[in-house]
Amino acid sequence: MSRLSEIAISEELIARARGGEAAAQAAIYRGIGPAVFALTRRLVGNRAVAEDLFQDTMMTLFQRLGDFRGEAPLGIWLRQIAVTRCLMYLRSPWHRARLQWESGEDASLHPSMLPVTQATWPDALDVERALARLTPVARAVVWLFEVEGYSHEEIARLFGRSVSFSKSQLARALARLRQGLAPQEDQEACTPI
């Protein structure tokens, strides 16, 4: 299971980690770290940047664990921290400059982008490739909306933009994904039974 929102961490473990017990913190890290990194890589693409954001997110988790009230699962709480960190990066002047610098080439297909997961089923690699062809902002929007279940209003707030920005980014992302995934569908449709 790789989605943060579905990972359950026991209250007892959280309490021990909050008390500074290293073994409990290590257990939480092992339980929740992979999902945090997967989400971070989905949102920012580049592995090196994702590692930095992952480190930052996990450090924030242990620093702020005392503030966690348990009203929502720990994964949801942490997801918010990770998403905020990633979107701050995507909105940063540094990232925009990097995109401009790399605009001459197909930066989205850089080897550091693929694959985010281990792609254990046949269709997975096609999905990974199609996602990698999206712009980082479009990828973040489609992922937050379709997979993480964010609403357009929430996405707009996170990006500091309007709802129509979120909707147009989603429409554009879906159109590109449709293109990227279509050949696979065509092959399936033409396969004799």
């Binding site: 299971m1 790789s2 989605r3 913190q25 290590a26 890290y29 092992r30 770290g33 992979p34 999902a35 945090v36 990194f37 997967a38 989905r42 592995r47 994702a50 590692e51 992952f54 480190q55 996990m58 450090m59 242990f62 985010v116 997961t117 281990q118 792609a119 254990t120 089923w121 269709d123 997975a124 999905v127 990974e128 996602l131 489609v142 992922w143 379709e146 997979v147 879906l174 994904l177 449709r178 995934l181 279509a182 569908e185 065509d186 399936e188 449709a189 033409c190």
Partner: protein
């Protein structure tokens, strides 16, 4: 035949991709190592203004010391003489400053109440480097080295002495305010 893919189909495939197994980029030990390094960096950043302020105070004291003590070069001072590195002055002035710093270092108490291993190691390393440089300079003089070569070595020695004074001064402050 072209089959159009609807949004629900894409969403389903994206969610399936999300459920693929993934791994953290590194283990708990590496995470802790990076966390400690990051925290150390933050502490240094946080204390940087205090270090700059101490350096400014030291520079002011160095400037004022000759007036306060009648110009006695080797009298122990509160702060080391100007350790900001070789300024754009003549070599003679630079050598005089280096001697003043060495006088200040010699007057320092040898035993601090509080000894920090890192600082002590840095002091030892710098002292070794200065000693090695002294040996080299002696050998170069005997071999009749070019004056420019000796000047370069002298400047290098001045920098090492300045560094040593900075470390010793920081250690002295730390010892006075544990």
């Amino acid at each position: 035949m072209h089959t159009d893919i609807d949004e629900s189909n894409i969403a389903r495939r994206l969610r399936a991709a999300a459920d693929e197994p993934s791994e953290a980029p590194y283990g708990w030990a590496e995470f802790q190592r990076r966390r400690n390094r990051s925290m150390l960096t933050r502490v240094i950043e946080r204390n940087r203004p205090a270090a700059i302020a101490a350096a400014v105070v030291a520079a002011v004291l160095v400037t004022m010391t000759p007036f306060l003590h009648g110009g006695h070069e080797h009298e122990p001072a509160i702060a080391p003489p100007d350790t900001a590195g070789p300024a754009k002055s003549s070599d003679l002035q630079e050598q005089a400053r280096t001697r003043a710093i060495e006088g200040w270092l010699a007057a320092l108490p040898q035993d601090h109440d509080l000894v920090r291993v890192g600082a002590r190691a840095a002091v030892s390393r710098l002292q070794d480097q200065i000693a090695a440089l002294d040996d080299l300079m002696s050998a170069e003089r005997v071999a009749g080295a070019q004056p420019s070569r000796l000047d370069a070595l002298e400047r290098q020695r001045s920098q090492l002495v300045s560094s040593l004074a900075q470390v010793q001064y920081a250690e002295m402050l730390a010892s006075a305010n544990p």
